[in-house]
Every structure is written in C-alpha cells, then in structure tokens.
Symmetry: C2
Subunit: 352 residues, 2 copies
DNA sequence: GTGAAAGCGCTAACAC
DNA sequence: GTGTTAGCGCTTTCAC
C-alpha cells in the first residue's frame, strides 16, 4: 500500500489541484499558464497547491493539445568534432534561455542516419529543425520534404544554396582572402594553397578568396601552387613534398583547415625549414591545438558559438512567422565574419 | 483551397488510414506496431496506405497514452568541452540505435541550470536521465528527488558516491598509478605531481594512484614534490617555477590533466630543459592537441565514447527493471580501465 | 483477427 | 473571472 501511494504520488494532475481547491481543471490550467483573466489570488492559491503537491506539468499532454512541442531537432555530423560541439553549445544555451529543448542527432556524415533523424523529429513534432548537412548527402529530398510540410528549417555551416533554405554560414571567401593577404603583408611572396574537396562550396570559396587576395595585391597567381588535399595531416605533408619539387618553391602556405596546416608544418619540420622565418603557414578553423603547438599556428576562427546562436534565432523567426499564419517568407542567409588569429607561424619572413 | 488541402495533408492520422481501408483505428495502430494478432495481409495493406499518405506517427500522442516517451535527458557541463562532446557522441549513437532520442542540456557548471534541466526533463516525462554533476553543485536534493520519484538516473564521469546512484566512471587511481609507474620504468627517479582541487574525488584518486605507484616501486615519496594546481596551463608553468626552486629538483612530472602537462612543458621549454631526455612529462585526458605538439605528450585516455555507451546501457537496464514492476535494485558502478598513450614526452631519460 | 469504447492530461472555444 | 465541453491522436482493455 505504501508503494502504491508512492507510485500514485508521481501522477499529480491539474485535476488533483482543481479538486483540492474547488476549481475546474480549466481554471487551474489557466492559472498555471498565467492567463490574464485569472485573479491574482487564484493564481497564488494554485501555485501554492501545485508546489505543495509537487505537481509537474505534463508537457506531452500540453504539446498534444496545443500543437506546439517547444522542442527543436538538431542534426550535426558528430558531437565528437570540436566545431560542432561548440555550435551546439551556442544553440542549446540560446534555446534553453527561450524555453526550448533540443533533441540532438548525429548523422555520422551518413545520409541514411540523416533521414532517420528527420523521421524522428517529424514524429516528435518538433517546432523546427537546425541541421548541418552530412558530407555524404547528395540527394536532398528529405530536406525538400520538410519545406513541403512547412517545417521550419535552418542550415548552419554546411548548406546547399539550391534548396533555398535560410542558413548561417561563415564568410569563407573573406576568411581566406584575409589570411592570404596577411601572408603577403608579412613579406611572403610565393604563396601556395592546400585545398579541400572542390565540389564543396566551403572549400571552393576559400580557394576563390585565396586567388582574389593574390590578384588584388598583384602577386602572381600560379596554378601549380594549388595542391588538392583532403582535410588531413597527411595531405598537408604530401603538399609539402609536392611543393618542394616544383621548379619555383613557395615560401608560404594558406591551408584550407588546421589539420592540413599542421601536416604542412610537420612536413616542413622534417625538411628542417624554419617557420615562420623561411616559410609562413596559416590555417582555418582555429582548432584548439593551434595555439599550443610550436610554433603556434595562425588561423581563421569560425565563430562557432555565435553561429549556433544566430541559427537558433533565425529558426525562431521562422517559427513565429508560421504561427502568424504567414507563408514562410524568411529567405535569409546570415554570413558571419571570420576572426583572424595571428600567431607565430605567420610572423614574417626573414629574407635572404 | 489548394493551401487548405495542403495544410491538412500534414495531419494524417491513423483514423484516415482506417477510413480508407475500412478498418478501425485500433487495428491500424496494432498493425503499425506489429502486433502479433494482426494478419500479415492487413499489416501490409496498412503499411502501404501509410506510406502512400505519408503518414508520420504522432509520438506525442503515443507517449501520452502509453506513458513511455522513448526519450532520455542528458546533462553535461558544456558541449564545448571536448571530453563531454565525445561522451555525448557515445550516448547518442547507442541511444538512437535502440530507438531512443536524447534531449541535451548544459549545466554550465551551475546548480541552478542543473535544476532547471531536471525540471524540464520531468515535465517532458523522459524515461531516464544521464548526468554529469556540475562542479558548483553541493546540494544534491534535486537528484535525490529523482530517486524518490523513481526516475531512472545514471551518473557518468562526475558522480557522488553518497547518493547511491549507478554510475560510469574511469579508474582514476589506476590511470595515475600506471602513468607514474611508466615514468619510473623509463628511468626517471624524482617524480613530481601537479594536482587538481583535492576535494574532487577524481583528482584525489589520481593523487593516491601517484603515491601508490611510488611506494610500490620503492621510490621515495616527497611531500614537497606535490604542487597544488587548478587544471590550467598557468598552473603547469607555476609548478615548474616551484619545482626548480626546491633543494632537490624533480626529473619528471605526472600532471593531473593535459593542459597542466602542457603548461609544464612550456615552463620547461622556457628553462631550456629538454623533454624527454632531461625531464619526463605525462598528462591525463588524451586531449587532441597532445599528439600534435612537440614533443608529443604522453597521456591517459579516459575512454569517453565507451563511457557514453556504458552509461546508456546502464540506464536501459534501470528502465527495463522499472517496467518489470521491480524495485530499482540496480546499484551498479562501472569502472572503465584507462588507456595509456605513450608518446615522446616520456620516452626516457638519458642520464648524466 | 478485428471492433467498440474509454481515456492519457492538457488546452481552448464558448458560455455567462 | 470561472465553468462546460470537446477533443488533440494514440493505445488498450474488453469484447466476440
């Protein structure tokens, strides 16, 4: 009997409060939701009784009835990746401060899991979805389906312009441009680039920024100074091998991201080339290891936390628009400005 | 009208399927849930109609009725911290493979946010909670409340033994013991320790492991060889200053975690002390920067992903026990074995 | 193997 | 300012 009572005690509903207070559940519900037409006295009594009985509102019932779950779905490739952990940090902070919960899913870069995540979100009736597209994804029908269903959707970091979905990205072009120009200003004259898969916009934009900076500063652009890498330490090392077999050898590298830059530094160390006095290096992503290696790595910061905040804000706009019975007209693209961190690896050339 | 239809098309329910198939919603529900007493033919017809109508089951309604949300709440201090991102990776992977969704909350090390998270979880009627206690938390009443309410709860990494809650932690003692013994075996003879806040079990365990390894190997234990740090690069540097002003100077350090170890290495570099030939260093956490700095940092890996998997598994056990109408008797504590990564920083002393 | 009926706990018209 | 009523979409006895 004791246990039975105990078990029941977990299931206090607004009806229990209503009964004890000689009210209807409707009034209790209104009081709990701070409805304007309920007297302050009633509200106080209800509040008091609620906390006395340790009442916890049943969000599930409330969602079912109201059609709003106050929950958003978030898809990231992997929580293990620094970058996404940091974005999620920004998203969750903002969301919870506005009364929203987040359901987190990892795509593991797989289209199948990405679709599964969306199915789950749909059946959980999330109010909106924040997503970073999986690398593997080439068929976007599951995202298009969301648009059809009028489910608010915002992409962050990895988006697809053809889908016409609001997004928050970083200005890759400008980051690359600034990084390259920085190397030029530090006195490096033969600046090479280790790129990433060129079919991904992020990386082709960085390539364009690199080229534009050279042109603007009247530095000769040399096609052979571009090495096609794949975002890894290995490709950075391989790039060094390639560069040092060219007829004209570069004296600096703008790497498409930090692990590639790290590979470049390792390759240079093996060849006993001094960084930065003989060779400058700058990366992209501002990974945590960058400031701790020696020489410390200059890099372009991607404003991850801010990205999360902005993405959630954009999603909120869409959700509110939708509630206002308006067509989702938000066709916005927020482009964050990259932040440059100049460290030792690009401190300047000592010319011979 | 077009829009109207479109809008309605988002709200296909089992009743719609039932009507079109001349069945009852009960049968459709059973068919969709693969109930054994429903004929294969009916199941097939229902499935076909469901996907034709693009039916998505309403998990909210289902949860309300069945009392199971198939959702668990996860509290971590911050998604920005590598360690927790990695644990979440393990949790989410396992959870989603078993049909569970995770709601993520960050405590930001604050008791207030921690309590707020639990409130939210309770009102979302999660089937269980996975938590890593916030540093700031000294009053555990919100966790005790969960026990009272019979809500399955498992701690990971940061737990409190007094609460008698199942947990998954790493064997800090053994990790520290092995790390210290490794230094001894590599020929270092005066091994110091930079510790963390001693009121936290994690860190006092590491201290104990360090002392035990010295004793077991008959290396003299010297109280002055313990420097009280605070998990930062700065405290590592300060420790070096302290150690090099001792009458007897150590020749190796076991640091309580990697950032401290990094600070030690920086301090040594400033003093032009060679690592590892003159001084050995080993850390704890296996942070990603460790293998990329020079010399690379030896460290103790905390099996983060595995920790997430085990924590979810333990929670599942509790959830199933509960459903079986049994008292929650699971009083388990899973202790993971640390993994040692021996790198350059502890490669051995060249004695003069 | 399927139907009828009830209800999970809440909210929201519509009353007055 | 509060009550009445009617569901939200699903699951689940209890029938037969």
């Amino acid at each position: 009997m004791r246990t039975r009572l105990h078990r029941l005690s977990q299931k206090i509903t607004i009806h229990d409060i209503a009964r004890e207070l000689n009210l209807t559940s409707a009034t209790v519900s209104r009081a709990l939701n701070d409805h304007p037409r309920i007297s302050t006295e009633t509200k106080d009594r209800v509040q008091a009784k609620a906390s006395q009985l340790k009442y916890k509102r049943n969000k599930i019932a409330s969602s079912l009835r109201s059609g709003k779950s106050h929950t958003i779905g978030v898809i990231i490739p992997s929580a293990q990746m620094n970058f996404f952990g940091s974005v999620v940090h920004g998203i969750e902070n903002t969301a919870s401060s506005m009364g929203y919960s987040i359901i987190l899913y990892q795509s593991e870069e797989s289209s199948v899991l990405e679709k599964k995540a969306i199915e789950t979100f749909l059946s959980a009736r999330v109010d909106g979805i924040l997503a970073s597209i999986a690398k593997e994804t080439t068929d976007f029908s599951h995202y298009q389906e969301l648009k059809k269903r009028n489910v608010p959707l915002v992409f962050f970091d990895r988006n697809n312009d053809d889908l016409n979905v609001p997004s928050v990205v970083i200005n890759d072009f400008k980051g690359a441009f600034d990084a390259t120009e920085h190397l030029i200003q530090k006195g490096y004259t033969r600046i090479a680039h280790v790129s990433g898969a060129k079919h991904l916009k992020t990386f082709s934009d960085r390539l364009s920024g690199y080229i534009a900076a050279l042109k603007k500063n009247n530095v000769e652009f040399n096609e052979s100074f571009i090495y096609q890498g794949n975002l890894s330490i290995e490709s950075g090392k391989a790039a060094v091998d390639y560069f040092f077999n060219l007829p004209v050898i570069p004296d600096a590298v703008f790497a498409v991201e930090d692990f590639t830059a790290l590979g470049v530094m390792k390759g240079l160390k093996e060849r006993k080339i001094n960084v930065p006095s003989a060779f400058g290096v700058i990366g992209f992503a501002n990974e945590s290891f960058g400031e701790h290696i020696s020489p410390s790595l200059s890099s372009v910061d991607q404003q991850t936390v801010q990205m999360g905040k902005e993405a959630f804000g954009l999603l909120m706009d869409m959700i509110n628009f939708k509630n206002g019975e308006l067509e989702i007209a938000v066709k916005e693209k927020i482009v964050l400005e990259p932040l440059l961190f100049f460290r030792e690896s690009s401190a300047g050339k000592i010319n011979g």
